[in-house]
Symmetry: C2
Amino acid sequence: MVGSVRVLSATQRDAYLSECRAAAVGAIEALIGERERRHPAYRAVLDYPLREAKGLRPALAIATCRALGGGFAEMLPTAAALELLHNAFLVHDDVEDGSALRRHAPTLAAKLGVPLAVHAGDTMLSLALGPLLDNMRLLDLGRALRILDLVASVLRRTVEGQALELGWIADHRWDISPDEYVEMVTLKTAWYTFAAPIVAGAIVAEARPALIDELTRFALDLGVAFQIRDDMLDLLAEPAVTGKEHCGDLWEGKRTLILSLFFSGAAPGDAAFARALLDRPRPRVTDPADPTDTAQLDRAIAALGDRIAPDIRDAVRAAFRASGAALYKTSTDVAKLRMLIEAYIHRAGEVAADFASRASQRWASIRPAMEPSVHRDLIESILAFTVARSR
Amino acid sequence: MVGSVRVLSATQRDAYLSECRAAAVGAIEALIGERERRHPAYRAVLDYPLREAKGLRPALAIATCRALGGGFAEMLPTAAALELLHNAFLVHDDVEDGSALRRHAPTLAAKLGVPLAVHAGDTMLSLALGPLLDNMRLLDLGRALRILDLVASVLRRTVEGQALELGWIADHRWDISPDEYVEMVTLKTAWYTFAAPIVAGAIVAEARPALIDELTRFALDLGVAFQIRDDMLDLLAEPAVTGKEHCGDLWEGKRTLILSLFFSGAAPGDAAFARALLDRPRPRVTDPADPTDTAQLDRAIAALGDRIAPDIRDAVRAAFRASGAALYKTSTDVAKLRMLIEAYIHRAGEVAADFASRASQRWASIRPAMEPSVHRDLIESILAFTVARSR
């Protein structure tokens, strides 16, 4: 199957992706007039969208729509809305996960504090309604409403998937079965990142219902493979490639297939070490509005003056730092866990390969419904890329 | 003007409000099926909506719609969506403001931690789309789309208003003019709490455009009066009445008209004291996932064992607490500020009375467009209540 696909070169593929992303970001910027861009509500809104990113969602929407005979202009507002909603969820996810880096720069929460980051996400969610309502005038009413229904149901699935994960975190659960993991990422990622843009593209292009069903199943298998591989990259790649912290998922205690397989296969002592480490919070992201604990101790020691001998003062400081280290995750422990899970990265790759190969089979039956075009080639390239990444 | 209104008794008014609120909450519960209610995504969603509250928004929407000849059933989904969106913003505002109490109980952030609270708000925002899309089938398309447009534009105003306030907080700005304050609460509160439900009611009842314009201006004046008086109540009423902390706005550093008037009129020394106090953070709301600083010091001291003498140990602990107190707001300082601003509460009341009286004048020209009914009486009662509160 895979051997027969017609793929673009990496350069052609990336050019297509970045063209779609530029168009979507342009449409997002156009939602915010020049005057409003100075308004504090909108300053933070463009921060994530303007950072360098793959732009997978706009490209998948536009490529599917055009491969099925639809037009670029009638797809763009929906592609922009999906990209904006995606960025809104990234901003809030980074607050929820306490992440430090996103796309090669500090997260909005680390940059502006939690209040402004939560608010920026809400502003982005509110703005995304605009282009979806513009669809009423741009498309016929039937398609505009089907897209609104699609977005509403995908948003619902996305929050359900995120809730599964936050629920596991709150319950300190690590015995996640591979099926539970797949359910979670299907809801949280595969629907939003793959099914939503591909199905939206098919709706705008007026594809027949049976084809839309096939495209949905293709998109979900592809999405799961993609996400598993993304979790592997978090452990394998350098921050310069991912734009995130190295092993950021371990710092955040993210539930990945790799850890799911590790916990079901590891020696009890290793599993206990991992559980204790993963359940400790990471050191707090510094909140600009919040004085640090060290400042509080320094003031206390200064206030005591001569009453506290210099050697005791230093000992208290050192013990305070060491005690903080015992309460939080440390680099040494994270590095040790990274070693322990090495073998399970490969096993997760096998699961990703299964999903990728199922996606390839589905693609084989979808492909004949599309005329040959650069748009069809783009979808095929992303499939081939995911298959290759999964090896 | 005010003397001529026909008001319900407090009991009648409260019965009307609670009937509408119960219907809206029922419609919100119906969005989440029995099975789904066990799903972690939805557990937190009903928390705020089920807490005791006035239910102003559903009542204003239903009363306006029915006073203008519209039906209850065709108004209910929109009333439920507005109530759900309102609760979503409350959840996120409580995260952004670091509030401790909401409606007589700990805020969702205090109860479940910031990650689950941010996520619950997103889930509520996502769910609210459902009833607005159901309107497409329930109402004719024209009205359903106008309501979606109204909601999109009101959400935009709400986040703009909240951004103005968060921007002032981030910039440590306290020299807010009364006009700036009115702009902020018009966007943040008056549009959402008064104009959105009243205009939605008028749209469903197919009121003529000129009447909708008059109703909008009436709602905005009423909303500003209501919010100023709400800020006064925060300082005057007991927590048993407001369901919030006493002087919670001072703890949170909220920009109110009272403080705006205080800063323009206070002696330089008093203003400097107030500015220094208000800009200090409040003690952190305890996050269940985050060990406290005191625990860190206790472990440090324990680790030092005999190396630190008991009297020095106690002195370090006391100095650590005192140093924390100097970094954060304290009850003593908040109580002192409360005394300093006493006179300005009354002056803010005068501004509220101006807005309430303008609302009364607008009402006088709107009233003849409505047949006498309990629904018209309800709107009048809320007007009379706001006028009376503003004295």
